[in-house]
Symmetry: C2
């Protein structure tokens, strides 16, 4: 063969598809010319180290897409003209005009300024595979069954044209009832709004509320994605310390400038895992009512608890209407369900409705249908119960191994919920090395540095346990601990 074809490695894509993609690329880029005889199946099979049957399947793809044609008794040729070629005769090959740098909006400029932070965040998340539950526990067969149940004209016909930018009403009802019984959120399906992606549920209210220069209070340390979201809108961040009862409300009381909103994670402070006490919750709500400040309560990672009593959400405790409750099912149903949702104070419903019309008038139908049944048929709570039992064992095993092998070097702060531990490691080694050696032993660690606005705590890490294998765990912790102590 006198042209180069590279099969990209993507294990989720079948080989014949990768072969047809690569050949198509060669055709579009002109390495195989219109009218040219295609290399033989035998040559391609040998050259690409794939079976002849696979080459034939790739040819079939290319024929359907009209890049090659087989003339019986003659051979297989690259089509002439090519499917995209009728356009190209019109394209004059003038010199490409000089390209000026693009002038971005102030928002665009802020986003660009955060590039470094964003990239580090993305790297950490990718490295850690940290975002969701272990895939082998995903209720895939149930989900498949629900998709098939609803991928029918009967269901779609009623809904397809109904524009419901706030979400499929039966889903809003099912979620609201679930949040009421599981999290103590006030039952208010009319105020529950569904979003297609989990980031958008914070993005929309932030954008409706914040002008550049506005003051937004956030926990220190606190969730990096929320930090970035507010910063992208030009907010000035007020970093509020936390103590063992949660956010320090007395700190807020001393601020004389108006605060636009307060972002908190009371059920499982991110990253410390501290649960805000009932007294502190009431104090915060009282302050919010007095100062007329909105609270954004992010209930992320609230589903898994190990033995501790559950406190009601701020939303359920609030006698006024100052709480925006936001959550998702990321930790439970990733990667099937990527929806986010929030429950609004009444006075924000109209602005959010209008902003949804502008930016996300339609939501994925099948995902909404399937999730409605998943909740109403009782599978959601059953699934959480089942996985809680699994995670509790893994968590217990991890704590035992850590106390057995590194009692002196690793401190486990108090924490009784979620899918990771926060640990503090005393070691002469750098954070980087501690993470790398952990990875060699099959253990995941993520530095908390991006959670701090100021100086971060060296040696502080998030350590997820939901993916761990209880059998090999102790051996891994022992090996890693030896390095840490060395």
């Amino acid at each position: 063969m006198d042209f180069v074809i590279n099969l990209e490695y993507r294990s989720s894509v079948p080989v014949y598809r990768r072969a047809s993609d690569a050949i198509r690329k060669a055709i579009i880029e002109g390495r195989l010319k219109p009218g040219q005889t295609m290399p033989s199946v035998r040559d391609l099979s040998a050259g690409l180290q794939i079976s002849r049957a696979t080459v034939l399947k790739a040819f079939d793809d290319l024929q359907k897409q009209k890049y090659i044609t087989t003339i019986s008794g003659s051979g297989t040729y690259v089509c002439d003209p090519l499917p995209g070629e009728m356009f190209e005769q019109n394209l004059q090959n003038e010199d490409v005009a000089e390209i000026h740098p693009v002038s971005l909006s102030e928002y665009g400029q802020r986003v660009l300024d955060m590039a470094g932070y964003q990239r580090r965040r993305l790297e950490q998340l990718a490295q850690l595979q940290f975002c969701g539950p272990p895939l082998e526990l995903t209720p895939l067969s149930k989900w498949r069954q629900l998709l098939v149940r609803h991928c029918k004209l009967r269901d779609l016909a009623h809904l397809a044209h109904a524009r419901e930018p706030l979400g499929y009403p039966p889903l809003r009802d099912a979620l609201s009832a679930y949040l009421h019984r599981a999290r103590g959120v006030k039952y208010s399906p009319d105020l529950l709004v569904v979003f297609a992606s989990q980031q958008f549920k914070l993005e929309v209210p932030a954008r409706l509320l914040i002008d550049p220069g506005d003051l937004v209070a956030i926990e220190e340390p606190g969730y990096p994605d929320a930090r970035m979201c507010f910063a992208s809108h030009g907010a000035k961040l007020l970093n509020v310390p936390i103590d063992q009862d949660g956010l320090d409300v007395s700190y807020l009381e001393k601020i004389s400038q108006p605060i636009k909103c307060v972002y908190v994670t009371p059920s499982h402070q991110d990253p410390t895992g501290i649960v805000m006490s009932l007294e502190r919750r009431k104090w915060l709500l009282d302050w919010a009512a007095r100062s007329n400040t909105l609270i954004i309560e992010d209930d992320y990672d609230s589903e898994y608890r190990y033995g501790n009593e559950q406190l009601p959400s701020l939303h359920g405790l609030d006698p006024a209407e100052n709480v925006i409750y936001i959550s998702s099912l990321w930790k439970v149903l990733f990667p099937m369900v990527r929806l986010g949702f929030l429950v609004l104070p009444k006075r924000l419903l109209h602005p959010v409705f209008l902003a949804k019309l502008q930016t996300e008038r339609n939501l994925p139908l099948l995902e909404q249908f399937a999730l409605t049944d998943f909740i109403n048929d009782g599978y959601l709570e059953k699934h959480i119960k089942r996985t809680t039992a699994v995670y509790a064992k893994r968590r217990q095993a991890l704590i035992q191994s850590l106390t057995r092998h590194c009692r002196e070097t690793v401190v486990l702060p108090f924490e009784t919920s979620g899918m990771h531990l926060l640990i503090q490691v005393q070691s002469r080694h750098s954070d980087r090395r501690i993470i790398d050696v952990a990875a060699e032993w099959g253990l995941s660690l993520m530095s908390t540095e991006l959670y701090y606005s100021g100086v971060s705590e060296p040696g502080e890490f998030l350590m997820p346990f939901a993916h761990l294998d209880e059998k090999s765990l102790d051996e891994s912790v022992r090996g890693w601990a030896q390095f840490v102590k060395s």
Copy 2:
């Protein structure tokens, strides 16, 4: 029964589910008290006019959700305490604090100011059921098959944690190749970005480019959703007239202030259906290169053509890199596929990547998997071909009936593509009445008033034909025409 239960009418939700939703509501709202005996199956069956089996199924739901419990030999009771009740003991019933009006950001205020326009737009769209193809032509069984194929651990495991905010790479490749062969867009999978909702593909670049007060050129008449999108960012809209060759570029040349970007629909001007001539395309691109202005080419509704020669997209003709190409498969695969996508000039890729990280880091997996196969297996183009044949017949039938019954009163402008006709009706009746009477005859009409920034053309309507029944069509047009002429 001494409490009221209303079954909401939602034909897409099974009756037992509506019954369990309604009973749950009665329980949460306290009309049925914890510990109280449930009304008998017989009473509920009689009261709600549903079968006993349905009541039992609803009871089953409520038991799974822990709202009711059956004690064998005794009866069925409302649970005590209720699932959400453990929280409520903490909720003091203080007087609800006085609620102050919410102070919105400038963006929020602009969105609020557009409420009237938005609501009219939503009403019109809902009334018209105008957004997509006829559902009976949706390739549902193929789609179901693709979902089942990919809703497997094998596929999800590889992808779940890979953060690919620009879209699933094989889908970006498949779409880019499709756009190349079908629309003459330059093959550039690295510059193709996928969005979860079709509105977001315009929202993101608009937001990255536009500051309040910036000048954005848009066709007059032109697409209302684009108008609103730019206005929500505070853009000043420059309404550029169109002639039979498309956007009047000489008008742009006379503007001395810098123009941030130009939004155009060259392949099927929305709403007139005018196709921008090749000469005009080159002129526009030449002007863009000289003035260093970005063009947003919206290729919406470009898939269906009836006999006319197809011109290459602006993107394919542009020797410089000044075109943002945006499109979706809304008109082809609604309601299954709600993804939007765009192809960027290189210099915008980094800002868009960063904005995606902020707002939509993850996209629906299954929809992307299924669409990739749908394109690469050749079904997309086959489906377009098949439906084009159907729509062509319906379009022809509509044109014949209109010319037969209202030659003097209805003017059909030249138009050879898309899924609707633009018609001009001369009548002594109001637009409102003309639309209502059309609806009585089973015909859909939408006034173009929202497409105009200034004075709209009375009697100008969009008339979709893809849903029409060829058999009853002539009778309907005749009946409607009699009214129009009366």
